[in-house]
């Protein structure tokens, strides 16, 4: 009986003494390198890190703002209105990399000659004024637009580009896709399909990334163009904290900014901070 009490007390203390876990939530785009970094840190430093992807980027902001998590992952810039929603939280963003959103199309569209899209054309498609690929120089086929579901940073980046401000985007009803895998899967298996996708996922075989047409210029989503912010739909990958990161959150953020963390960014197809700086600097 006494042994049981001792064991119970020990177990209880062990549980109680365990440091509170570091909780991270948000964008599925940022999730990939972050989740892997969490695995590494768990193995190396025995940190307890919980990663979730509820609600995408907007979920990241709300969960960080409400204090439910210490770090929110977002795949877009932290806007003033986001900060204003949680004035007490003093939300601060630390950028860990850069990514681009591309309009991706299915192989048949690419092969029929559509390689670039302009802002006006995107608006036309979004508002269902343009319904056929032949209006973009492709074959005679209906445009099947898979819209990113609400709350995704990817959608916001697209809407910001197409309409200047995502709040100005008109209401539209399209079939929705959620994560990157679902998007790529559905676009590649449907003729005439297009959607918004992180450019690192456009593998050039299942789906193809369209370049942006600005006037006469055709700007592709290359690392150089993304880093130099020439490609309009580039977006920072941010970790959002309440105030400057401290404690365990700081350990994590520092890790992401350090070499092993940045290697993870590149591994998952994003631009590291170094690549951002290097390509942004004008050639001597």
């Amino acid at each position: 009986m006494r042994i049981l009490t001792v064991l119970f007390a020990l177990g209880f203390t062990a549980v109680a003494l365990r440091a509170e876990a570091l909780k991270i939530n948000g964008s599925t785009t940022v999730n990939l390198p972050v989740a892997e970094a969490a695995e590494d840190l768990r193995a190396e430093k025995e940190m307890e890190i919980q990663v979730d992807t509820q609600g995408g980027s907007s979920g990241g902001i709300s969960s960080a703002g409400e204090g439910r998590v210490q770090i929110g992952m977002i795949s877009k810039p932290l806007a003033d209105e986001d900060k204003a929603k949680y004035p007490d939280a003093n939300l601060t963003a630390t950028q860990i990399g850069e990514d681009a959103v591309a309009i991706v199309v299915s192989p048949d569209v690419w092969e029929s000659g559509v390689h670039a899209i302009s802002k006006e054309q995107a608006q036309g498609i979004y508002e269902s004024r343009i319904k056929n690929w032949k209006e973009l120089g492709g074959e005679d086929r209906r445009i099947v637009f898979f819209n990113k579901e609400p709350g995704r940073g990817t959608w916001e980046v697209f809407a910001n580009w197409a309409y200047g401000d995502h709040k100005k985007a008109p209401p539209a009803s399209f079939p929705e896709v959620g994560g990157n895998e679902e998007t790529r899967n559905k676009v590649s298996s449907t003729r005439g399909a297009m959607s918004q996708l992180s450019s690192s996922w456009a593998d050039g075989s299942q789906v193809y990334a369209l370049a942006i047409k600005e006037g006469d210029e055709i700007i592709e989503a290359t690392p150089a163009n993304i880093a130099g912010h020439k490609y309009a739909m580039s977006r920072p990958l941010n970790l959002v904290t309440r105030g400057e990161p401290g404690g365990q959150a700081k350990v994590f953020v520092d890790y992401m900014l350090s070499e092993p963390g940045q290697k993870l960014m590149v591994k998952h197809g994003y631009l590291s901070m170094a690549m951002l700086k290097a390509d942004a600097e004008p050639a001597p």
Binding site: K23, V51, N180, E181
Partner: protein
């Protein structure tokens, strides 16, 4: 003319039966073929690496086990009480019918609504964040009707001589319940739990807002803010959000493990169900 109608009916019945079984075998074959290559001892005992592309699903399996174990208690224990009320304490067929209806209704509630109520009660109102306990309680409530009905049916079919003998010996009602009714029907109780757990193990909707996350949870440290990983949620997320082609195989492996778990639970319950079935047929 009558002969051909007769043959027609028979043919239709068998075609339908065959179709149903064909679909089943096709399904199972698809999952087995794709999942088997991924499953190994290694797969079951390691944890996730590379966001699902490598490693195993140990903590997912553990999380599901924690959830269904909690559900077994949270649903199974009250079910005893409800079954007793339904069979022993309630008098009048009307009242019993009404209670039976309530059980039917609980059983029919769409599982997403359990998730929604969990979000309102546990996450919002109680402020627990994501907790294994919320998931366990919700799943327990979900399987309550299954266990209750299984137990109640068994109690109803207890041979009258047992109860008469006990009463004749002067046992009080509580004593009769303890020594005769419950003792004789605990098998049905376990069976009901196993069948209920087979369903609960595969549910995503009740736990996705309230109890489970995708990565990082191991053993829950307490009650508040203590999510777990789980098998079905893992599959659900990876179906939408994987990265690596290697993940596909792991995905099927996870599906297969989940299927084994579910089938295993049902299979353990099988002998007891056959036994009850035969008993009823002979009665």
């Amino acid at each position: 003319m009558r002969r051909s109608l007769d043959r027609f009916v028979a043919a239709t019945a068998f075609i339908c039966l065959g179709l149903a079984l064909l679909v089943l075998t096709g399904l199972l074959a698809a999952i087995l073929l794709r999942g088997l290559p991924a499953v190994s001892w290694h797969f079951l005992t390691e944890q996730i690496r590379s966001v699902g592309a490598a490693g195993g699903i140990f903590y997912n399996l553990l999380g599901t086990v924690i959830l269904i174990a909690t559900a077994a208690l949270a649903g199974g224990l009250p079910a005893i009480g409800v079954a007793l009320v339904q069979t022993v304490y309630l008098r009048g067929a009307r009242a019993r019918e009404r209670l039976g209806l309530v059980l039917y209704l609980i059983n029919g509630v769409p599982s997403i609504l359990f998730g929604l109520i969990g979000l309102i009660v546990f996450v919002q109102f109680l402020g627990w964040g994501k907790s294994w306990l919320s998931g366990g309680l919700l799943l327990g409530f979900m399987i309550l009707p299954t266990v209750t009905i299984s137990l109640a049916e068994r109690i109803r079919s207890l041979p009258a001589p047992y109860l008469e003998a006990a009463a004749g010996l002067g046992l009080s009602r509580s004593q009769i319940i303890r020594s005769v009714i419950l003792r004789q029907s605990w098998g049905a109780w376990v069976t009901g739990i196993l069948i209920g757990l087979a369903r609960a193990a595969g549910e995503v909707a009740p736990i996705m807002f309230t109890a489970t996350i995708f990565a990082g949870a191991t053993i829950p440290p307490g009650i508040k803010e203590s999510p777990v990983l789980s098998l079905p949620y893992h599959i659900f997320i990876l179906a939408q959000d994987s990265f690596d082609p290697r993940v596909k195989e792991k995905l099927w492996g996870t599906a297969l493990v989940l299927l084994f778990l579910v089938v295993g639970l049902s299979a353990i319950a099988l002998p007891s169900r056959i036994h009850t079935h035969d008993e009823a047929a002979q009665a």
